[in-house]
Every structure is written in C-alpha cells, then in structure tokens.
Amino acid sequence: MFDDKIAKAQRPVAIKVEGLRKSFGSHEVLKGVSLTARTGDVVAIIGGSGSGKSTMLRCINFLETPSGGLIEIGGEAVAMNATGAPTDRRQLERLRQSLGMVFQSFNLWTHMTVLENLIEVPVHVLKTPRAQAIETARALLARVGLAEKENAYPAFMSGGQQQRAAIARALAIGPKAMLFDEPTSALDPELVGEVLAVIRALADEGRTMILVTHEMKFAREVADHVIYLHNGVIEEEGPPSAVFGAPQSARLKQFLSSVG
C-alpha cells in the first residue's frame, strides 16, 4: 500500500475543484468544497438528499454554473468570471469533450438508435471518421453486453440496458475522466447489479472517475477516496476504510446507520 501511495502522488491531477460555491437564489447549496482526483482515482461522493453532492458533480462540467471557486480539468483551469460564469465557450466545450458524463435518468437521445447515440459526438464534434467511430462503438457495446442492441431505440430497452448504453456513449468520446451522477438511482433493484458491474470493471481498469452514489457498499468497494457532504460542506473525507469503517463525525455515523 505504501508503494501505491508514492506512485499516486506522482500521477497527474485529472480533476481539481477548489473552494467551489454554488447558490440558487439566496440558498447556498455548496459552501466552498474541494476535491482532487488524480489519474486513475475513483472518488465517491456520498451524502443525504439535498446535501449538494449532485450539484458538486454538475459544477465540474458546468452543467450548473458555479457561484465561485476554481475548477481545473487536466491541469487547465476553466476560465470564469467573478460570478463563476464560464467566459470561454470554446474552451469549456473542449474540456467537456474530455469528460464522460452518466446521468441518473440515462438521457439517451430517443430519436437515435443505440449505435447512433454512441457515434453522435465522435462523428459530429470530434470529427472521427464514421467507419472508425462505428468500429469503436461496436467494441464498446460488446463490452457492456449490448452488442445485439445496436439498432434498438432507447425507449424499447430496459433501464439497465439504457444505462449501460449511456455508459458506452460516454466512453465513446474517449474521456480522460468519467462523471457518474447517481447512475443506479432510477433503476429497478434487480437491474442495479448489471450497471454496477460495468462501472466496477471501469474502475478496475484504472479509469479516473467521480461517482455520486447511494450505493454505500459499492462505494466502499471501488472508491479510493470517499467524500461525505452535508449541507454543502465536506463533513468528512478519506479512504473508504476510514470513512465507512471508522466514521468520526456524529452526522456521518448517523447517515451511515440510516442508509444501512
């Protein structure tokens, strides 16, 4: 483990969030939170509903506009003005192309087949030759166990299949890091396992990812670092063995006992 830590310190920082604040009107959802994910890290963000965990994730790629703070992706700070609004649309678009986002409600494009979903951004944004994009997409679909479904429309697939397709779509852009926003929360219980298996395989191959989740057991197994958010502040963080095994704060203890 000690060798691992030295190696870790030498890996480049993939995503860095510093002093992130976010308000909706007068309601402050994030009150200055920070996070560092080095290449290969799996960071899990946990917390109760309304704790700000999804907002924190969505600020990283500016789906929510921060109210202040600093966000660096691949060592490059996202240009923003004093109020947190991004000032360089092209830079933001370029940085977003290095982040694969997976949503709670899948958000596959329903007017396209699964294969068309996977090649949309590679072909139209990244200008990958179509044949090559299709080849990559087919390999990814085979990986998530959906090789047979490439011509299916999302509405005709189960939630678990849609989410696996959505993960493959995020991977298809060749992201440097993956962002998961409660990827199993909208799924029927019997479909959760197949999606977690895919995410676990990505973690095992050393992908950088930030994962907002309610699956505590899963977070404990795959994460290198766990952040517990409460009311917009980081109440406690550390390796999963510490956060789950020996929680310090009363709030985290109570949270962990309430979610089982």
Binding site: L92, R96, N107, W109, H111, V121, H124, A155
Partner: protein
C-alpha cells in the same frame, strides 16, 4: 330528365382544352400549391428562428418577437395582405425613387409567398416554441455535457426531438396556408379561386366551377394528410406507441 345533358355540359366546361376551362383551373391549382409551399417554407424558417429567439434570446429580441406574433395573429389575414401588398410595395418603391432607382414591379407570386409566409411564421413560432419546450431537458443536457456547441445541439438534438410534438400543429398550418392562398384573389392574383371565379363569371356555371375548386382543395388536403401521416410515423420511430 335533364341530368344527363347537364352533367355532360359541366364536363365540357371542365375540359382541359378550350372552350373548356380545365387548363385555367389547373394553372390556378399550380399557383396555389406554389404559393402555399413557398409561404410554408418561409413560415417554417421564420417560425424556427422565432421559437429559438423567444426561448433563448435576450429581452429585446423576445419583446420584438412578441410584438410580431401578437400583431400578426391579431390582425385578419385579409387586412395584412392588403397592408403588405399595397402599402409595403408602395413604401419600397418610394424608397427606391428617393434613392434614384426605378420603381419595381413585385410579382404576384413573390408577394403572395412573402405575405403568407410572414403570417405563417407568427403561428409557426408559437407551435414550434411549444414543441421545443416538450423536449426533455436531460437529453439537451447530455449533449451539452459532451461538448456540443449550442448550434449543433439545436440541429442534431432539439429539432429532431421536438418533431413529434410539432407535426400536428405544423400540419394544421399547412392546411390553413393552402386555403389562405384564396385570399390573394383580392390583389388580383390568379390562384385557384380567382381562376374559378373568372370561369364561373364568364360561363355563369357557378356551381360547376366552385364545386370543381372545392374538389381540388379536398384532393390537395387528402394528399397532404397522407404525407404528414408518413412524416409523423418517421419522426416517432424512437417512441413507443407512435406518439409522445
């Protein structure tokens, strides 16, 4: 029983070559279809810009578009046609004369397309605005999250996704524009109704010619219905139960 002879007289009047008036009616139908297609195209273009402008534009743009849709939808088409055809032509010509150019003669087809297109655009703005709002926000968010530019999101994601909600309203607008072409008769344009009226006035066979015009309008709408049904099925290919 004069039925047999009356029918054959009517058919003679509708024959394609003179002394029948069939060629005139078909020429009128051709003009009607041409103007309807042109105006519908202009209307869809204006409507798409108007809908995106109303939803995503700044305060000034939203106010101007609000003025446009409110005024055009409040004023009877006939009045608008008279205003735009006579007043606007006159203004353009006065401006041209003031700048030392010659007067221009605006063609009936171009004027008809422009006038009805502006009217269609106002209604299409509202139809498409509603349709755009029906697009699930998450799907637009997914596109933005992967670095698509706003223009690409509109073209590749928002527009195709709003089609199922837009088509019923847009099909209505097409039906309306085919019939609104009849209003251009007031500015002397030879569309289907004007041709029928001339034929009826000359031959005094009013029933025959207005019936024929009605049947031609009906045929046009039946064909259109088929086409729109196909477009609707295609736009809904990703949806269950063929609807949103």
């Amino acid at each position: 029983m004069a039925d047999g002879s009356a029918l054959s007289a009517s058919l003679d009047l509708l024959a394609y070559s003179p002394p029948g008036w069939g060629a005139n009616l078909l020429r009128g139908l051709g003009n009607t279809v041409l103007i309807a297609l042109g105006a519908y195209g202009v209307g869809m273009f204006l409507g798409t810009l108007g809908a995106f402008g109303k939803l995503y534009g700044g305060p000034l743009m939203r106010d101007l578009l609000g003025l446009y849709t409110t005024m055009v939808r409040a004023i009877p088409e006939l009045v608008l046609i008279l205003i735009l055809y006579f007043a606007v032509t006159d203004l353009v010509n006065q401006a041209l004369l003031a700048m030392g150019y010659d007067r221009i003669q605006i063609s009936g087809v171009a004027a008809g397309i422009m006038v009805l297109g502006v009217v269609q655009g106002a209604y299409a703005t509202e139809v498409l605005r509603g349709a755009i709002q029906s697009v699930p926000a998450g799907q637009i968010e997914a596109a933005r999250a992967m670095g698509m530019s706003p223009l690409l999101v509109a073209r590749r994601i928002t527009l195709p996704l709003m089609l199922p909600a837009a088509i019923p309203g847009m099909a209505n607008l097409w039906m309306i524009v085919t019939k609104d072409t009849a209003l251009l008769a007031v500015v002397g344009f030879n569309e289907l109704v004007q041709e029928s009226r001339q034929a009826a006035g000359t031959t005094k066979a009013f029933f025959t010619f207005f019936m024929a015009a009605g049947v031609l309008f009906l045929c046009m709408s039946l064909v259109s219905n088929q086409i729109f049904a196909r477009i609707e099925a295609w736009a809904n290919k990703g949806n269950k139960r063929g609807g949103i």
